[in-house]
Amino acid sequence: MNDVSDVALRLAIVFVVFLVAPLLVGQTEHKVMAHMQGRLGPMYAGGFHGWAQLVADGVKFAQKEDVVPAAADRRVFQLAPAVALLPYLLVLVAIPVGPGDGAVGQVVDAGIFFVLAVMGIGVLGSLMAGWASANKFSLLGGLRTAAQLLSYELPMLLAAASVAMAAGTVSLTGILDAFAWWWLPWQIVGALVFFVAGLAELQRPPFDMPVADSEIIFGAYTEYTGLRFALFLLAEYAGIVILCALTTVLFLGGWHGPFGADGLGWLWTLLKTALLAFVVIWLRVSYPRLREDQLQKLAWTTLVPLALAQIALTGIVKVAIN
């Protein structure tokens, strides 16, 4: 009985975090983006500086008609948003926030494998949406998504492999247990590659070629309305949370901090994640969208060699230490 309530509590907490954190990121994006452009952003919803803007947006989305195009592949079309969103919920279960078993939804021994494999499924939602919409813009968006997934999954995996090599384990908690401060400069290249590749996989600007609204309307999401469209948007922000949390755990030492190691570790994880989420927004505001060929070039000629070099460096240092 105790086990059941424990599992239920953990799942409930993960679920609440999964629903709240993306909204926090979204609201931060509204405000940070506005101020970076000399604007104020939402000011009315909720009364105080538009804090309830995303709630209002959600209500609006819920009221809209759910349209499925006549020529669409109905089942696949309707399933796609769930496929895009749910993997991030599953990943969140495995991410450790603090030390010990108490601060993680479920300890997974092959943590990196699980996390990266499940994250890859999320992109499948875009592919399904692109194919099932029976719309040429959606199809173009889906194809671009596929191309982007192929080229950026590789450096992401290589960078993560470097950390696994350094720690000698593929368990996320195991990696964090082995972490020491000098890993930061040691793995910095891998961290950059992982973060950039992750951004590209989330199709966040400046890597938002698959949804480039000035070229192909909204890519794979062109035909979506109402709640299903909102789910895709939620998936994007959930993806930001997951990517930032993963980068924190793998490269920035998660709950390790200069002080407050006992008891306040989870605060370090949240702080680092929030900081990275800010960087994600900052990059979006600062840079224009990459062209499709630039996108491929960046992945194959820069990120993959950098990730390979990082693995070589990790191997050399590892051997030298032993």
């Binding site: 506005a34 101020h35 970076m36 452009q37 000399g38 604007r39 104020l40 900052w282 990059l283 600062s286």
Partner: protein, 188 residues
């Protein structure tokens, strides 16, 4: 020296971060009123005491948005034995602001200074017909007309004041020698 690779990217990040720390330029209009520049063209006010129904404004209006109705009244002679005078009395003065293009020609052309620019701008209506505003509304707007901005330092004196001063000076010059001679010769 070639630029350091990535320096442009860093510069871009710096620009956005700097903008974030600065004050925003957004004007929160319905909550705070905008600060309008002097001589703002908001709406046209009518000072009907000055209107002589000469119809110049209505005739010069490029899109015929001014409506004027009037009738004649006879005024009894000013002095006994004189002739009766006829005078135009304003019945209706309306401007259709759905037609008006805010060119200001009516204000320029008015010989008796009966029309003025008011900076008032919040007079939207839900029906286009309600944009034809009658004389009472135009008169209300008259009271929102600001006093004209002050002249630049060292500018030429306005013509009206110059003319008035000239007359006053002439009067004073005439009165000055007469004053000591007789008390009753006050008016020339």
């Amino acid at each position: 020296m070639p630029p350091i690779p990535g320096s442009g990217l860093a510069k871009g990040l710096a620009v956005t971060l700097r903008t974030m720390t600065k004050k925003t330029v957004t004007a929160q209009y319905p909550d705070t009123q905008p600060e309008l520049p002097p001589r703002s063209r908001g709406v046209i006010g009518l000072f009907e005491e000055n209107c002589t129904v000469c119809m110049l404004c209505a005739r010069e209006c490029p899109d015929w948005c001014i409506y004027i109705d009037s009738h004649k009244e006879t005024v009894p002679p000013a002095a006994p034995g004189g002739r009766e005078r006829s005078r135009n009395v304003l019945d209706r003065f309306a401007i259709d602001f759905s037609l008006c293009m805010y060119c200001g020609i009516c204000i320029e052309v008015c010989p008796f200074d009966a029309l003025f620019w008011s900076p008032e701008f919040e007079y939207a209506e839900t029906d286009i017909h309600e944009l034809t505003h009658e004389r009472d509304k135009l008169r209300e707007w008259m009271w929102t007309v600001p006093e004209p901005p002050a002249l630049d330092p060292g500018a030429e004196e306005p013509k009206e004041i110059a003319a008035a001063r000239k007359t006053a000076d002439k009067l004073a010059a005439q009165q000055a020698p007469q004053a000591p001679q007789s008390e009753e010769g006050g008016t020339p």
